[in-house]
């Protein structure tokens, strides 16, 4: 699955995530040059969630050739499933001291709507985080792939899907907090969330999930299943003429990819402390594609790198030169498509190749 050097790098990454970062954050005193600030922990934790999305995007776009402009929807669905649980965990500590979430009291609702039934249970929430994005992706994918919608059509329809969902979640009466979404979380599994230790736990969990998904991706693309996917990407009709039915393959990878995004969303919400419908805006979904493109499509490490590069630049630029950020992001989109079709990984390979 990985080469010798690959395994070494993987173990180093695992150690950094699980041991070094927590040590630097919790036990190295503030002011020390080696101290990792809470801000840095939150930022890296957030970017690792994004990296999971980029990885998911790469499986469907880089390896199967299907560009989704709706992955923000799956991310948000996972996030909302987790957010509902966290809202219930607030208990009576909200503004109105009611058992209902604040926004429901505000709207003068007397009882939880039906789709909140399972939000009280953590186990059910974990199930929903996986099941809801999977179900939505499966149903949508089933119809889309069955009627052989592909290429740009598919991209535009996924964009319309996430746009429609965004409009729906913006509504107050759908019971998802409307414009403001969910926020003001207090605890998870009855443990207060705003402690350094809890933040570190979430951070480590995200890191381990990212690495696990990376390994899973390696296994998947190297398997026979993964090779059929790449064949579909390169020449779908030839795959069909060889006796394969691409629909099942596409549907499977599409659903897996959606689930990965949903898990990323569920890890993202407790770390960032808010989820609202803007996560489903078409712009966000397109940004996921640019992370994958910047890092390099068709390689698994590339999208992870891309997520770190773009989001690192974003958090730096939006502080130092906020007007400059959109110019940078726009130029990045253009430059990558014009000059770096293989992304950063492709560039590195090229440089190495020319040296050797």
């Amino acid at each position: 699955m990985l080469s010798g050097r690959g395994w070494t790098a993987f173990v180093v990454a695992l150690i950094v995530v699980c041991a070094v970062a927590p040590l630097l954050n919790l036990y190295v005193p503030q002011g020390n040059a080696l101290h990792m600030s809470d801000y840095a922990v939150a930022l890296v934790g957030k970017i690792m969630c994004y990296a999971i999305c980029a990885l998911a995007m790469d499986l469907i776009w880089g390896y199967t050739g299907i560009l989704s402009l709706g992955h923000g929807l799956f991310f948000a669905l996972g996030g909302y499933a987790m957010g509902m649980y966290l809202m219930r965990q607030i208990g009576t500590d909200g503004q109105y001291h009611s058992h209902l979430p604040d926004f429901m009291v505000f709207l003068d609702w007397k009882a939880l709507p039906w789709h909140w039934t399972f939000s009280g249970s953590f186990a059910a929430t974990l199930f929903l985080v996986v099941a809801v994005p999977a179900a939505v992706a499966f149903v949508f994918g089933f119809f889309a792939f069955r009627s052989r919608i592909k290429g740009v059509y598919f991209s535009i329809i996924t964009q319309a899907l996430t746009y429609a969902a965004m409009l729906l979640f913006f509504r107050n009466e759908t019971g998802f907090g409307g414009n403001n979404g969910f926020t003001d979380f207090k605890r998870i599994l009855d443990i207060p969330m705003q402690t350094p230790a809890m933040r570190m736990v979430l951070f480590v969990l995200t890191g381990v999930t990212l690495l696990a998904f990376y390994l899973f991706g390696r296994w998947l693309v190297a398997s026979k299943f993964g090779r059929v996917l790449q064949a579909i990407r390169d020449a779908e009709s030839r795959v069909m003429f060889s006796g394969y039915n691409p629909i099942g393959y596409k549907l499977t990878i599409w659903t897996i990819s959606a689930v990965m995004c949903g898990v990323a969303g569920a890890l993202y919400v407790p770390q960032v402390g808010i989820i609202n419908p803007s996560e489903m805006s078409p712009a966000n979904s397109i940004e996921i594609a640019i992370w994958a493109a910047v890092g390099g499509r068709g390689t698994l490490i590339g999208p992870i790198l891309g997520a770190f590069i773009v989001n690192g630049a974003k958090s730096w630029l939006t502080v130092t030169a906020p007007e400059f950020w959109l110019y940078f992001l726009g130029a990045l989109f253009i430059a990558v498509t014009l000059f770096l079709p293989q992304g950063v990984v492709g560039l590195v390979r090229k440089l190495r190749g020319s040296k050797a």
Partner: protein, 523 residues
């Protein structure tokens, strides 16, 4: 302005000649709201020019009170409301404050007085304002205006107002007549009035008449609603059409997924804004005609930007639709930021020229605004122009030739690269025209384009890529469908329903309404 308004007012007949007194002025200006309204209504029933002027002064908040005396203040001078003579203003004079209820009463009182204006437009406006008035105290005034009215249309409307007031009369026969007469009305206000009266009416035969009238009014209202939905659907459809026409070239013919299309529209809208500014500054007299100059300006600004984009980015990406999607998305982000840095992040104000305001009243509850009508006409003019350009001109021939078979067109001596630039600039210019039209009905801001991009791609996809006729049907169909669903489910759910329907439709016809027939295995 202030006095001139009232030169229109007729002087009242001698029998009613009743001079405006200081006591009346004081009663209207001071005390409890209820007492003031009573005084107001009493004064209006027998008003003269001074009363009207005083009312206007009250509306304009230019009345002050000091002790027993009331003053009308104009600039830094004070006048006696009764004699009109200038008087010194005491230092302790206080402003007269009107609450919302008082303001409403003042406005209807003013409207009642304007029923005698010499200007037909003012009379019509006054009748419109009084349509929901049911105060019986106003009856003598309305009766008099009704008798004096010469314009048949206004007289008819006035008759309905009179009937509405009579509906509250204590005389059964009068109520009966009023109930009959009101069946001719087709305003929502009349419907409410009839319903209100039905609740308190005790006489069975009056009640029956009321019910019959209500049914007639409701039926005519339903027609208005339906026609209104069709009109706003066509209006929305014509906007979608304008937005999608440019895309039909850049996406439909050239295969470029231009995510910056919305931003090219935004450039057209801002070009309109700039032209408006130039007219305001240098040609204020011709301001009404700025839009005529803005149309070509919007086209050229967007077309120029489109040509630059094609030369610098898009020409390297032909035949790779997904790459054009990402690159043009980047372009759209940069253009948005460019506009933010130049014009600010806030929306800018674009005014309608005066000939675009107002509208045609078709039914009581249906008015077709001029700006919508003009945009519908504009959309079809652009459609015809584009059809002509693509179908009948040499440039159009080259564009079609290059999109069908680039190598052969090139062999025939067509400069394909230049044709690409022209075609892309044309598509962009049409986006600019759409932006110019949108500036007349919506906000102009840096994210103007974002709201339309998903919709416009839907139109092109639904219509069938490269099919002009399909684009037209899809745009109008989506517009009307959207508005009908809106009346039924509300705006957001309608939008979602339309998106879902499109997804379902694409299931059945993946190539759009007008599919290109072919045998390719990739089709």
């Amino acid at each position: 302005m202030f006095i001139r308004c009232f030169l229109f007012l007729l002087f009242f007949a001698a029998g009613h000649a009743h001079a405006f007194t200081p006591a009346e002025a004081k009663a209207m200006a001071t005390g409890e709201t209820d007492a003031r309204i009573e005084a107001l209504n009493k004064a209006v029933a027998s008003a003269d020019d001074q009363t009207a002027a005083f009312l206007q002064a009250l509306i304009d908040d230019s009345v002050k009170v000091a002790g027993d005396k009331v003053f009308v203040v104009k600039g830094d001078k004070a006048f006696d409301p009764v004699t009109g003579a200038q008087t010194p203003l005491p230092a302790d004079a206080e402003d007269v404050i009107n609450n919302n209820r008082m303001r409403g009463e003042l406005d209807t009182a003013m409207a009642a007085l304007k029923l005698f204006s010499k200007d037909e437009k003012e009379r019509a406006a006054a009748v419109k304002l009084l349509r929901t008035e049911t105060d019986e105290a106003r009856l003598p005034l309305i009766e008099k205006a009704y008798a004096a009215e010469s314009n048949a249309q206004i007289k008819e409307q006035l008759g309905l107002v009179r009937a509405a007031v009579l509906l509250g009369s204590s005389d059964k026969g009068k109520r009966m007549d009023a109930a009959k007469l009101l069946s001719q009305s087709n305003s929502g206000g009349t419907k409410l009035l009839l319903i209100e009266r039905l609740k308190v009416e005790t006489e069975p035969d009056v009640k029956a008449t009321l019910e019959a009238s209500l049914r007639t009014v409701e039926a005519s209202l339903a027609w208005g609603d339906k026609l209104g939905a069709v009109f706003s659907g066509i209006s929305l459809g014509s906007i979608l059409l304008l937005v999608a026409l440019g895309l039909a070239i850049t996406y439909g013919l050239m295969g470029v997924i231009n995510m910056a299309h919305g931003e090219l529209m935004m450039i057209g809208a801002y070009a309109t804004y700039v032209v408006q500014g130039i007219f305001q500054k240098y040609l204020p007299g011709a301001f009404d005609w700025y839009l005529l100059a803005a149309v070509p300006a919007a086209f050229l600004a967007s077309a120029l930007m489109g040509a630059i984009l094609e030369r610098s980015v898009i020409r390297f990406l032909y035949g790779r639709p997904l790459e054009t999607l990402l690159a043009t998305w980047g372009i759209s982000l940069m253009l948005q930021q460019l506009v933010r840095s130049t014009f600010g992040a806030q929306n800018v104000g674009v005014e309608n020229p005066s000939w675009m305001s107002g509208g045609i009243v078709v039914l009581g509850n249906l008015q077709l605004p001029w700006n919508r009508i003009i945009i519908i006409g504009f959309a079809f003019a652009v459609l015809l122009g584009m059809g002509f350009l693509i179908g009948r001109t040499r440039l159009g021939l080259f564009v079609r030739g290059v999109t069908q078979n680039r190598p052969i067109a090139s062999c025939m001596g067509v400069n394909t690269a230049r044709i690409d630039t022209y075609a892309f600039a044309l598509g962009s210019g049409i986006a600019g025209l759409a932006g110019c039209a949108l500036s007349q009905i919506g906000n102009v801001g840096p994210d103007l384009g974002q709201g339309y991009i998903v919709d416009s791609f839907m139109v092109v996809v639904l219509g069938g890529v490269g099919q002009l006729a399909g684009t037209v049907y899809a745009a109008l169909g989506l517009g009307v469908l959207n508005k009908f669903l809106e009346g039924w489910t509300g705006a957001v759910l309608a939008k979602i329903a339309v998106l879902v329907l499109i997804i379902v439709f694409i299931q059945k016809r993946p190539q759009g309404i007008f599919a290109v027939k072919g045998r390719s295995a990739e089709a």
